[in-house]
């Protein structure tokens, strides 16, 4: 089914509003994608994907390994630019602005679209510097007090403040895996992004740390548009409002999480969520 009908929506901000058959999204579209094709050299990894990711909600990408979820995710903040052989075709809009257009600076784009990676990757610096790095290079804080405030706010939002407030000068790499991942989330939200992309953020964590991150994602939904790639269907069902199922570089099905998991319309989705492949 074609999910990119340009039906107007709230025309001032969003030129591409997706109305998947029957169900209107609760939120206006934040990220719109139009016929995305991604090639690694001669090999095509993503085929004609179009979708609209709503504001202030969690959208999860599921699918078997190698189906292009992460590649597609990385199109949104142009991280694929850093891979030399990668070539992206198609248009991606954030608030109606084409991210691939010439007057968009990819570096600025990446501060508007934060990213959390599969493996926790704090800088080998102090906890404080990990959070303060982004605001510092963007010049968000005019004084030390401002910076302190940003650091505290970000850590609090990431649910890490109580645990680390007495050891802000200790290296971030000394934290546990779950804490490191929350530190990375805090680092991402410290630059006040509009969208947060999470690439399998819990795959390296134990169930308790995973539960904490999931709680956190649920809280962050209030403020941000979150896109999460996950291998765990339970996680997708728990945290997301919308779910996209990818298979072999194609978007098979995209809709409300509940619908996808209870009443998928494609039998490949059905097969995947019931564990018959993938």
């Amino acid at each position: 089914m074609d999910e990119t009908e340009n039906t107007g929506g709230t025309p001032l901000i969003v030129p591409l509003t997706v109305e998947p058959a029957g169900e209107a999204p609760a939120q206006p579209t934040k990220v719109g994608c139009d016929n995305i094709n991604v090639y690694y050299g001669d090999k095509q990894a993503i085929f004609d994907i179009s979708m609209a990711i709503p504001e202030r909600s969690v959208t999860s990408f599921i699918g078997p390994s190698g189906c292009g979820k992460s590649t597609f995710l990385r199109c949104i903040n142009r991280m694929n630019d850093t891979i030399e052989t990668a070539r992206v075709e198609g248009k991606i809009f954030i608030d109606g602005e084409d991210v691939n257009s010439h007057h968009i600076d990819p570096v600025l784009l990446r501060s508007r679209v934060g990213m959390v990676f599969q493996k926790p990757n704090p800088f080998p610096k102090s906890i404080y510097d990990n959070i303060a790095y982004g605001p510092r290079i963007h010049g968000f804080a005019s004084s030390r007090d401002d910076l302190d405030e940003i650091v505290e706010k970000s850590l609090t939002r990431a649910g890490l403040w109580q645990e680390v407030k007495d050891r802000l000068t200790r290296p971030g790499t000394g934290l546990s895996g779950g804490q490191q991942q929350r530190l990375c989330i805090a680092r991402a939200i410290a630059v006040s992004p509009e969208v947060i992309l999470m690439d399998e953020p819990c795959s390296a964590l134990d169930p308790i740390a995973t539960a904490r991150i999931e709680e956190l994602i649920d809280e962050l939904r209030e403020r941000f548009c979150i896109v999460i790639v996950t291998h765990s269907m339970q996680q997708a069902a728990r945290v997301s409002q919308r779910t996209a199922f990818f298979h072999l570089g194609k978007l098979v099905e995209f809709g409300d999480t509940e619908t996808i998991f209870t009443n998928p319309s494609d039998n490949r989705t059905q097969a995947y969520i019931t564990g018959r492949f993938g």
Binding site: N77, V107, L108, F117, N121, I137, C184, A188
Partner: protein, 527 residues
């Protein structure tokens, strides 16, 4: 039949438990033991060579690190010491002739027999002319004391120094107890003889077994005689120094020097005078500071490595200024920015090739480009540093690229993910994390450059440099070149000097490598 009911077929015997398996296991274990043994043997051989090397260089160098000095109490006669007047300190400081004259007079007074036998030259050779230079310089600093009698020390001639260190000829010493000679007057000359052969028997028995021309010196206190030979049942002797009467005062020792006088650089008389001075306590063995504080000289006893060390330091300074910034920049560009295409591949291959180019080729390049084409000064650390910098550059680039590549890509993603630009990512995160590796590469590259000889020979840094260079454009030489030069010296004394210079060079190398290990341990970050 029960057979049909129960399964008679026994379970297949495990392939890992039968006799053949046990044999295979034994064989495999033996092979493993053997392999481990080969490894240990290889390390053992390497260690043995290292120990041998350190021992041979160390024992050679030890003789050079101490030397013998003669004490002189010299009355500073103004006319001799300061012929241009006491005020002209520059002239005093360079008045080698005057001071050597004082030294010669002092020795002549002590050993009047030298003049009597026309052997002043031999006596004067106890102290090399230039060895009195330190005396002249200290006097020039204190010209007010001219006229007084002051105590000075001067280096003993290198050959006699080696004799005292036992490096000239195999020598055997025999204690003879109390001896008194009969003096036989024969016209003008007096000859000495021992009645019978009793006391001298151990010596004559020993000498009969060794080569002709062996010198036998008999010493009692500062009095020394030379054995001439048997004559009519007497053993006859010549008095070299001191008095015959003195032999009554102290027991006599015989020194049998098993090398003919003609085959030595030191005569029997010189040995006798040296031994007499030593007996009086005027010759002492002290640490050879001159080796570290003097510049090069044509005389091994006063030659030092200071000029070469300073030359090497200036050279290394230039090398570091070329190799480190250029190497790091090139590595950063190739590793972080450059697109992967045919041109960068070509550059990469050629950098690796350049690292394998023999160092002497770089010397030729330096001579052709820097000296002939750019007309930079010959024999200068500036040119040496440029050449060694080019030589170190490929190594530096390769080491820096390896260090940059070792920084996990997740750090780059993290920085890019919070909106850092490429340059911010590199400067704030990648470079600091790669710094210990880059520094280690730089220090080891510099240590290699410090030991390079061939390219420096070609750009003329092999010149004889008796002055400590004051800057990178002065004429200079470098430590490894000095070692090469000293090792070709004709005099025996250059041999321990060479070893000592090698020890100095190795000390610098070990220090630099230790610094590299320290930097790596101290600044290495784990993630």
């Amino acid at each position: 039949m029960t057979d049909t009911i129960t399964n008679t077929e026994a379970p297949a015997p495990s392939q890992f438990r039968d006799e053949a398996a046990r044999k295979r296991l034994k064989k495999r274990n033996a092979a493993e033991q053997r392999f481990k043994f080969y490894g240990m043997a290889a390390i053992g051989v390497a260690l043995a060579f290292l120990v041998l090397f350190v021992f041979s260089i160390g024992s050679q160098a030890l003789t050079a690190f101490s030397h013998h000095k003669i004490r002189f109490d010299l009355p500073l006669v103004a006319e001799t010491v300061a012929p241009m007047g006491v005020g002209d300190t520059a002239a005093i400081a360079e008045n080698v002739s005057g001071f050597h004259q004082l030294v010669r007079e002092n020795l002549a007074r002590r050993f009047p027999e030298a003049a009597a036998q026309g052997r002043e030259r031999e006596l004067n050779d106890l102290v090399t002319r230039l060895a009195v230079l330190p005396m002249a310089r200290t006097t020039a600093e204190n010209p007010g004391r001219i006229g007084e009698t002051l105590t000075y020390f001067a280096a003993l001639s290198d050959d006699l120094d080696l004799y005292l260190k036992g490096a000239v000829a195999p020598e055997r010493r025999i204690s003879l107890g109390q001896i008194s000679f009969e003096q036989v007057r024969n016209g003008d000359s007096v000859s000495l003889r021992l009645p019978g052969s009793g006391a001298f028997l151990p010596v004559s028995n020993y000498v009969a077994g060794v080569i002709d021309g062996t010198s036998v010196l008999l010493q009692s206190g500062p009095n020394i005689v030379l054995w001439v030979g048997p004559d009519n049942g007497y053993q006859t002797f010549d008095l070299l120094t001191g008095s015959v009467e003195g032999f009554a005062d102290a027991p006599t020792r015989a020194r049998i020097i098993e090398l003919p006088e003609s085959a030595r650089n030191v005569s029997d008389r010189q040995i006798a005078w040296t031994l007499a001075l030593k007996e009086e306590g005027r010759i002492t063995q002290v640490f050879n500071w001159a080796l570290l504080t003097n510049a090069d000289s044509t005389y091994p006893e006063i030659a030092g490595v200071l000029a070469a060390i300073v030359g090497s330091l200036f050279t290394m300074l230039i090398t570091a200024m070329i190799a480190i910034p250029v190497g790091i920049s090139a590595a950063l560009y190739l590793e972080e920015y450059a697109p992967k295409n045919r041109i960068t591949d070509l550059i990469e291959v050629n950098i690796n090739n350049l690292a394998a180019v023999p160092s002497i080729v770089f010397g030729l390049l330096g001579a052709a480009v820097f000296i002939n084409f750019l007309s930079l000064p010959r024999s200068a650390p500036l040119v040496g540093g440029l050449v060694l910098g080019l030589l170190t550059l490929p190594t530096m680039i390769i080491a820096s690229r390896a260090a940059l590549r070792a920084v996990p890509p997740s750090i780059r993603s993290a920085a890019l993910g919070v909106g850092a630009s490429k340059t911010q990512t590199v400067l704030h995160h990648v470079l600091p994390l790669a710094a210990p590796g880059i520094m280690t590469g730089a220090i080891i590259g510099m240590a290699r450059a410090l030991g390079e000889t061939a390219p420096l020979l070609l750009i003329g840094m092999v010149a004889f440099v008796a002055e400590v260079p004051a800057g990178p454009t002065d004429e200079a030489t470098a430590l490894p070149v000095l070692i090469f030069k000293w090792s070709t010296g004709a005099e025996r004394a250059w041999e321990p000097n060479t070893a000592a210079a090698i020890v100095v060079l190795l000390t610098f190398m070990v220090l630099m490598n230790a610094l590299a290990v320290f930097v790596r341990r101290r600044f290495e970050r784990r993630w």
